[in-house]
């Protein structure tokens, strides 16, 4: 499938010289490897600079120190606790945001009257930077979990709402007509025409929402948490431990990419029919 996406480049290569199968496989793996060259190279150079003592590496710790910090955190069981706290918040907030965004987005997309009633308000709320809700959420919901989950849910809600509504509105009228010709009932029309038609855009909306969820969990954990990766960031800043900050950032990156990949993997079998969704070819 990835081949389809990258066809022009492959054709070009073929035009220059016919390649044997092993070379083609090499090229397939060489491509992502090329992207790794810059970060890995920079990390190596920095490691060497600190190794030779040209820099103390106190504010920007070398990769080896970073890994040592992660291992140390993991060994004490602390890392699991922080990751679990952050993941729980993201999952809860993401779940709430997705449910609310999907339900309201579907209602707005499906019924014109509901859209005219609901959408202006949602659009107005969307214009407010979500972080601005933080003081209010803390007043209303307290400093603990509820306000954090609420903030993440708000962040996830908007892209999912907009994605679902937009997807339903842009379903091809001509395809809907095929459903009418075969006299599909309302539920059958939704199940057999609308759902498959909106699925690609929905997956994109989920992925955007998840990205925002990870962004907002950091903001939420900045507002006074005693555990979580965001807490590790603040703690590292206050105690002057840049390695701990970088460790938390790296773990954020890994978790963010992994959860995004999980959505991609889960939706891949349903989107096989699409041109753009070929393995890891699409969506980046």
């Amino acid at each position: 499938m990835a081949m389809t996406v990258e066809l022009p480049a492959l054709e070009q290569a073929d035009a220059i010289a016919p390649r044997s199968a092993p070379t083609a496989r090499l090229r397939r793996y060489a491509r992502p490897a090329l992207g790794l060259l810059l970060p890995v190279g920079l990390a190596l150079i920095w490691e060497l600079i600190v190794w030779f003592g040209w820099s103390s590496g106190r504010l920007v710790p070398p990769p080896s120190k970073l890994f040592a910090t992660i291992v140390e955190l993991a060994r004490g069981g602390e890392l699991t606790r922080h990751v679990a706290a952050t993941l729980t918040r993201v999952v809860a907030g993401f779940g709430l945001g997705v449910v609310a965004g999907t339900v309201l987005g579907a209602i707005s997309g499906y019924w014109g009257l509901a859209r005219r009633l609901l959408d202006p308000t949602v659009q107005a709320l969307r214009a407010i930077p979500s972080i601005a809700w933080v003081p209010l959420f803390i007043l209303w919901l307290g400093i603990f979990e509820t306000s954090k989950v609420a903030l993440i849910a708000v962040g996830v809600f908007f892209p999912v709402y907009l994605g679902v509504m937009g997807a339903i509105l842009s379903v091809d009228r001509k395809i809907v007509e095929v459903g009418r010709i075969f006299r599909l009932s309302g539920p059958a029309m939704i199940r057999r025409i609308l759902l498959p038609a909106v699925l690609p855009a929905y997956v994109v909306a989920l992925r955007v929402g998840l990205g925002l969820g990870w962004m907002f969990v950091v903001a939420a954990e900045f507002m006074g948490a005693s555990e979580g990766l965001g807490y590790l960031l603040i703690d590292g800043q206050q105690l002057g431990k840049p390695a701990q900050i970088l460790a938390a950032i790296v773990i954020f990156a890994i978790l963010g990419k992994t959860t995004d990949w999980l959505i991609e993997i889960a939706s891949a079998p349903l989107l096989r029919w699409q041109d753009a969704f070929g393995g890891h070819g699409g969506g980046h």
Partner: protein, 261 residues
């Protein structure tokens, strides 16, 4: 029999697209509706299909009034309109999903081989050429065995060679169960090669202008003088339909008769 009685359609924006259109189309007849752009051909077809209700007049099929899509009426659009998330086989079986799976599979397999796409059963629609996709659309419309099949410029988006190929193929398929075909087209050649009767419409508001019966045996030779004769008659009727000085329904097609026979 498909009976159209004084069909009229005025769109909400005030456009008078169709006025007092009456025709009776026998079971198994192939009728081609032809006319200049904006003459209400597609409006007429959509009213027969029950997709857009006529604002006046009635469509009846075997004494059943049609006001919504009906199981006995199938339609093929200008575009294949395949569902991109279903395989070719599932697209063809889309209209018979209430049948037991084994019967459905058998019907789909037969239709697939009948349109010459047995090897494409598991392909995705995006992997098909334009002509193949339209074959799938034809198969999908025919699998529920409609009594009336409507075609809205079904081959106009295809290249000339594929179009001829599919015209012949359509006749071939039609011969299996002989449904009534009502086909909207702007291609005179297509109308004369396929139809038993050509209905010429004139625009603003769309109405019936002339009827020409094509009593040529099938298969028709596109190069025979008879074929050319009919083509010229249809073309003349079309020209006259666009000439505002010619009154409506001028002693039904005798003008054409006098000129060419």
């Amino acid at each position: 029999m498909l009976a159209l009685d004084r069909l009229g359609k005025i769109y909400p924006n005030g456009v008078n697209a169709l006025a007092r259109f009456s025709a009776e189309i026998r079971l198994g007849e192939i009728a081609a509706v032809i006319g200049g752009s904006g003459c209400g051909k597609s409006t007429l077809l959509r009213a027969i299909a029950g997709l857009d209700r006529a604002t006046s007049g009635t469509v009846t099929l075997d004494d059943i009034a049609i006001s919504a899509p009906h199981a006995k009426i199938g339609i093929i659009f200008q575009e294949p309109r395949l569902l991109p998330w279903l395989s070719v086989a599932d697209n063809i079986g889309f209209g018979v999903s209430d049948l037991p799976a084994s019967i459905r599979r058998e019907k789909v397999a037969r239709a697939l081989s009948r349109v010459g796409l047995a090897d494409k059963a598991n392909a995705w629609p995006r992997e098909l050429s334009g002509g193949q996709a339209q074959r799938v659309a034809i198969a999908r419309a025919l699998v529920p065995q409609p009594e009336v099949l409507l075609l809205d410029e079904p081959f106009s988006a295809l290249d000339a060679f594929t179009r001829r190929d599919l015209q012949d193929h359509l006749l071939d398929l039609w011969a299996d169960t002989r449904p009534t075909l009502v086909m909207v087209t702007h291609d005179v050649d297509e109308a004369v090669v396929l139809a038993d009767r050509v209905l010429v419409m004139r625009p603003r508001p769309g109405r019936l202008f002339d009827e020409i019966t094509i009593n040529l045996a099938r298969p028709r030779d596109r190069n025979s003088p008879h074929f050319d004769n009919f083509k010229r008659r249809v073309l003349t009727a079309l020209d006259r339909s666009l000439d505002r000085s010619v009154p409506d329904r001028d002693a039904k097609s005798t003008a054409g008769e006098a000129m060419w026979w």
